[in-house]
């Protein structure tokens, strides 16, 4: 089972649908759910959904603090990506320009979540805040014309962040990104 932590995003249910289409069991879990309870459900992977504000990210921070107890791949989408960056010492703030709908993302590093995808990806985004400074021990995986930090990966742990939305129907090869993540979860 993959746990989708609900941060009040518009596309949380789309993540669930995408995983269902891939054929993987997923559960949408409110971000106010106690971390121990999430642990008891034994997720094989965790996804932080997008959402309107870091203040409403509930127990996501605590999940990161207790990440060692889970030890499973973790993927942050949009706000989830910013949350991960912030937790590991990066900076998050209002971007110079917002990104809505179609953007072109340049993939700098194919492994692991962009495996097998083209070097330029046409994806959909919806955000005004962004990661402004890379967190420690992270590697940059992708960037765009409007936003320098579109995707990141921890150097040692299977923790990933993506600023755009691979789960929406308009994102090219979006399902492949989830398929790559599911592969990492060894389900």
């Amino acid at each position: 089972m993959i746990a989708i932590i609900e941060n009040h995003g518009q596309y949380t249910h789309r993540i669930w649908r995408t995983l269902r289409e891939i054929g993987v069991k997923a559960e949408i879990i409110e971000n106010t759910t106690p971390v121990s309870e999430i642990k008891n459900r034994k997720p094989a992977g965790i996804i932080f959904s997008g959402g309107p504000s870091l203040e409403r990210a509930g127990n996501c921070w605590e999940i990161l603090e207790r990440y060692g107890e889970f030890g499973v791949p973790l993927l942050g989408i949009c706000l989830g990506h910013q949350l991960i960056a912030k937790f590991f010492g990066g900076e998050v703030g209002r971007g110079k320009r917002a990104e809505y709908s179609l953007i072109e993302v340049e993939i700098l590093e194919e492994d692991d979540i962009f495996r097998g995808l083209p070097g330029i990806l046409r994806v959909w985004a919806s955000h005004m805040d962004e990661v402004k400074k890379m967190p420690r021990d992270f590697e940059l995986l992708a960037r765009s014309e409007f936003c320098e930090i579109e995707a990141i990966r921890h150097r040692e742990l299977p923790i990933y962040g993506v600023q755009f939305h691979p789960e929406v129907a308009h994102t090219e090869k979006g399902k492949e990104i989830y398929r790559n993540f599911v592969y990492l979860c060894k389900i």
């Binding site: 009040h8 995003g9 518009q10 596309y11 949380t12 249910h13 789309r14 649908r17 309107p52 917002a98 809505y100 709908s101 179609l102 959909w124 919806s126 939305h165 929406v168 129907a169 308009h170």
Partner: protein, 305 residues
């Protein structure tokens, strides 16, 4: 998908037991599919309530009533045009509008349910309806308009599905193509396509413009997700037959989408857009200018309100 039909039918049958239920039928894909599932589940104990809000598209009430009578459904058609217009008088704020419409809908459903002796209200709510309502983006009439203490128990068999999945289900249920291929139409109807106050006169203008957009899209054999007209409530200057005009502006919105959650403005051939503009201005004397909306969703929503 067949197993999904069985699962939903069983679910409805279990909840309703030997009681009666009404379904809020608009004639769109979602409520029609929910109606057929419910009909399969409880047959004659289902009553479809169709409300003519006065905010529907050209020819729509006649089309819906005829189609579903032919199906053999118990159909109750309620004419509530005046009631909706009365409730909407002076209402300008888009959220307020949606809530007023939702409230009148619920009142009508409660009245009809009482007459029939039904305890359940089946609705064709789909995932984007509650996602957008809960996220505070917009209150969908079937979610945001509901009072806290509703006398009816609600059943929403399509809650976890998106429109593309509902269409597939509709096909498998044997619902005719004219219904499952219909473009989505908002619950608040043409009220969501009128900026500012909703009056019978302004509905008439946007209804005519909307019909022209739909006809021309059909004629050009385009297959967008949605194509419609919006009355912007904004007057601009024109020159018509050497005479100054100062009249209404219509926006045309044509988008492509899979599920309504994200959408792109369609790259419609310019000749088609020009023909739409020509017809709107020549057939609707209150209008002198037509604009085409090129914004995607996000950042804009598909409907204007």
């Amino acid at each position: 998908m067949n197993s999904l039909i069985e699962e939903k039918v069983r679910e409805i049958r279990e909840i309703v037991g030997d009681g009666k239920a009404i379904i809020a039928l608009s004639g769109g894909v979602d409520s029609s599919t929910a109606a057929m599932l419910a009909y399969k589940a409880i047959g004659e104990r289902l009553y479809a309530v169709f409300v003519n809000t006065g905010l529907l598209r050209k020819g729509e009430p006649e089309f819906v009533i005829k189609t579903f009578r032919d199906f053999g459904l118990n159909l109750v058609a309620v004419n509530a045009e005046e009631r909706f217009f009365r409730a909407l008088k002076g209402v300008i704020d888009p959220e307020e509008k949606r809530k007023v419409i939702g409230k009148v809908f619920v009142e009508i459903f409660e009245e009809e349910a009482k007459k029939i002796g039904a305890d359940f209200l089946i609705q064709g709510t789909i995932a984007p309806d509650w996602i957008e309502s809960r996220g505070g983006i917009k209150s969908h009439h079937n979610v945001g308009g509901l009072p806290e203490r509703l006398k009816l128990r609600i059943i929403e068999p399509l809650r976890d599905l998106y429109k593309d999945e509902v269409r597939q289900l509709a096909r498998e249920l044997g619902i005719p193509k004219e219904i499952y291929e219909r473009m989505p139409f908002p619950g608040p109807g043409l009220a969501a396509r009128i900026i500012g106050e909703v009056t019978p006169e302004r509905v008439r203008i946007v209804r005519e413009a909307n019909a022209i957009v739909e006809e021309e899209i059909e004629r050009a054999k385009l297959r967008p997700w949605q194509a419609f007209a919006v009355l912007l409530g904004l007057k601009t200057v024109g020159v018509q037959g050497d005479i100054r005009a100062y009249k209404e502006t219509i926006a045309v919105r044509i988008v492509e989408s899979t599920d309504g959650m994200t959408a792109n403005a369609m790259n419609v051939p310019f000749e088609v857009l020009q023909r739409i503009a020509f017809r709107i201005v020549s057939e609707i004397p209150e209008v002198c200018r037509v604009l085409y909306d090129v914004t995607n969703k996000p950042p804009a929503t598909i409907e204007f309100e």
